[in-house]
Symmetry: C2
Subunit: 231 residues, 2 copies
Amino acid sequence: MTVITSPHNEKLKTLRRLQRRRDGRFVAEGEDLLAAADAAGWEPLERFAAAGSGLPGTEVEAEVLAKVSALGSGTRALAVYRERWATAPTGPRCVALWGVRDPGNVGTVLRSALAFGADCVAIGPGTADPYGPKAVRASMGALFAVPVARVEGIAELPGERIALVARAGAPLAATAPSPDCTLVVGAEREGLPGDVVAGCDRTAHIPIASESLNAAMAATVALYELSRNPA
Amino acid sequence: MTVITSPHNEKLKTLRRLQRRRDGRFVAEGEDLLAAADAAGWEPLERFAAAGSGLPGTEVEAEVLAKVSALGSGTRALAVYRERWATAPTGPRCVALWGVRDPGNVGTVLRSALAFGADCVAIGPGTADPYGPKAVRASMGALFAVPVARVEGIAELPGERIALVARAGAPLAATAPSPDCTLVVGAEREGLPGDVVAGCDRTAHIPIASESLNAAMAATVALYELSRNPA
């Protein structure tokens, strides 16, 4: 087995290019993320491991690997995967993000979707790319387990559409959502656009004593609330 | 009114020193945070504003202020406050953090505590400083509204102590917590130390389909669950 010792190696060059600009492929770093991918049956296109680590993949001298890593010097494993996009979001339980620009929030929603049994995350207009490095990391591997689909309009969302809006509509706990439903969540400050709210089947909120929750926390609590009352 | 134009100004030097190492005082940045402090009745020890911004405070030339800012060039307002520590955590509803090292998670828990009506956040051993810059920022100003107290042991926590542990005890929704209670939350990976769990009055969990939630998400959902069934 050859060990890559040069940062100018062609495979590593491709990796660095992918970190800057993706082309349908993305990079995941760290043993936990790669284990999540394995567990979910994702086959890497290419896999790298620190030389001597005993981890599977093309061996790379530790210092050279550290330089390729976006996380810093700790990474011992790194792999390239092909993005997977569902052709359409699927139910019975879906969460849709509209204008959620922060990739950390998108990753957190993926993690909550997995935790609370959502079937799909729909990525609406103005939402951060779930395959971007920060979203992948924040998802803690949930990205490999929960299908994602791009959507342009709410007509594409499955089941009853529930717009989550601060202080409008009924408390989510007091609604009796259809077993088939999509929770539609907007950006932290702007909230959901008026036409999106108007196009949804109902409006609900999470009762809070303060000004606001961030998008990821609101979605997490709402997904928990829905999971409390399974269809 | 004199405008500070030199980065060597003594007041700015003090500010930079405080950003590196605090001494019972801390720095908050941004108009939203400062407005939250004002609303909660916190008097700044010193307040700075970009020259010409019309904001209250000692005027500082915009470029000089940008260099002092930990957030980057956008900051137009910045203030120094004295830390406030409650002598003991208070109920009827308290959340205690044990070994939650990530300051972003600590800030998020403060925000959720405010949103869901907790009376106090207890900062247990190994937990990030709530007055650190990242925690202050993540709290979105909740730090100014929710009392914090340092604790060394669970005996200091008010009311019934509920240890939140992954997959142990009853689902939190199925428990009937005492109106006076403290929710005890541990670190993401390690969870709560065994002796802390053993010393609590009961153990509960948030039912999830995946491996784990992070500490902030778990605490947020648990605080929501408690707020659903007000005492």
